[in-house]
């Protein structure tokens, strides 16, 4: 399905949607869950899989961009959707109830970017040790000079 047609379809339903770089959809934070339900259930979109879930830090705009990549095996199209979050207290609904793949990817984003996923069943650090301080992929993350604490492997 052509991108333009998708945009029209989505805009009908979610008027707040914006377009970025002529290929990405940017939706409002509160629209995420309805949007996910919409793209999963609409036959014209038929999204099957949450392929990409990551976040990018934009300190200049004081935002953290959540980046979602949705993919449809049936219709073979790809949709990149962004959600812009407040950098101070980033928080967004979890997608684990729709896709199991969101589980680990959200944990990773939580670990490295510090985004809180509301309703995530198991929000732990995944790549860094449990006692790690800070979130590594933030632009303002500063490396501590040395390990302060002995990691407690349990």
């Amino acid at each position: 399905m052509e991108f333009q047609a998708i945009v029209e379809l989505v805009k009908n339903k979610f008027p707040q949607t914006e377009i970025e770089f002529e290929k990405n959809l940017v939706i409002a934070k509160d629209d995420l869950i309805p949007f996910v339900e919409f793209i999963r259930n609409t036959p014209e979109l038929h999204i099957d899989v949450l392929d990409l879930l990551t976040a990018a830090d934009h300190p200049a705009e004081n935002q953290i961009h959540m980046v979602y990549g949705f993919h449809s095996y049936r219709l073979a199209h790809y949709l990149i959707v962004k959600v812009k979050l407040d950098r101070k207290n980033p928080s967004i609904a979890t997608l684990t109830h729709w896709w199991e793949s969101a589980n680990w990817t959200e944990r990773e984003v939580y670990d490295l970017m510090g985004v809180n996923f509301e309703g995530h069943p198991d929000q732990r650090r995944i790549l860094t040790p449990p006692d790690f301080v800070g979130h590594g992929l933030r632009k303002d993350y500063e490396r501590p000079g040395f390990f302060v604490k002995k990691p407690d492997f349990k």
Binding site: F21, N24, H46, D48, V49, L50, D51, L52, T54, A56, D57, H58, V67, G69, Y73, R74, L75, A76, Y78, I80, W99, E100, S101, N103, W104, T105, E108, L112, R125, I126, L127, T128, P129, G136, L137, Y141
Partner: protein, 409 residues
Amino acid sequence: MSHDTQIKKEPSNLSSKQFRTDSPLIDQIPGRKRQILRESPESELKMEEFLLNVGPQHPSTHGVLRLVVALEGEVIKRCDPDLGYLHRTFEKISESRSYQQIVPFTDRMDYLGSMNANWGVAVAVEKLAKIEVPERAEYLRVIVSELNRIASHLMWMGAFGADIGAVTAFLYGFRERELILDMFEEICGSRLTYGYIRVGGVAEDITPKFDKLVREFLDILPAKLEDYHNLITGNPIFLERTRGVGAITLEEAISYGVTGPMLKACGMPWDLRKEEPYSVYPKFDFDIPVYYNGDCFDRFRVRMDEMVESAKIVIQALDGLPEGDYKVKKLARNIKPPVGDVYVRQEAPRGEYGVYMESDGSTKPNRVKYRTPSFSNLSILPLMTVGWKIADLVAILGSVDIVLGDVDR
């Protein structure tokens, strides 16, 4: 092939196109249902849970993976992977390097499929900066990446054999992989971390010796594969250990974002080289192996068949190699792409490899995300292993074909 005689032959090599035109694709697939009776109601009367720490130092975790396994007798009740032992913050480092400098990190991520890993980054940068790559370079990229796929699967086959106790297969897999490594050594001087595919083309042109090596190798490959099938596939113990073991359904696989051979083993004829063709893949004739049971054995068969298909591509590409430059002649030392982002997806040996790259207009990317196949493929492990024996854990883990560098990045 010998292994087909024992197993009901499903329709393989289905062109995925034929599914898409008529109706939604997944609905068409003759699927396979599984019921997991995880625990019966009276489960409060149970034996003591026995926690076993598999890894991070363990012969079969393929690196530094730690699995916390709750056992009941020999049966796995829970399996909780603990990642991050090989986390080397490549995404963070990439943000502080110029675009060309990113490429070598990807070598260290998926160290068994370095060529493919390089390629994704190169394409991402090329797309961001709108660089046109000469056709010869594309052909060379296809050749080396497919060779790398063969090498990776050979290595995997050996390791999988070793995982279920057939140590000899391990050595056999390595023996043939060695030939491919020789070829790579010939063109880029390196045997593991190549950095061969670069922004704007490839590092060096191929040599006649490389051509000769490749052709020789492709000549002997079918016979060698036959050998492997004789050694492994026909063995009843192997079949017992793999058939039906760690089976997942297509729905589960899709929900967990599983890609690559694991997805093909579940019955989905999905391959980015066919479905969203990139580079010069549309010019080649090859098939996508598909099997339907989603178990270890089907994953094995998919990979074995993929090697044959890759060999087909390589020989076609080598025969049709156009003359011309192997790289963009004039490339800025510091590329400054315009503001924007790009997401590139490619079919790596382990599955879908994606590079998400954001440019803020400077010489360094603002954000690079590697969507690695091993990470999402590993995420289904807890589901796959429940109810199986501890020995199956190793087989299942082996069948996932993880590279810890790829998981932890």
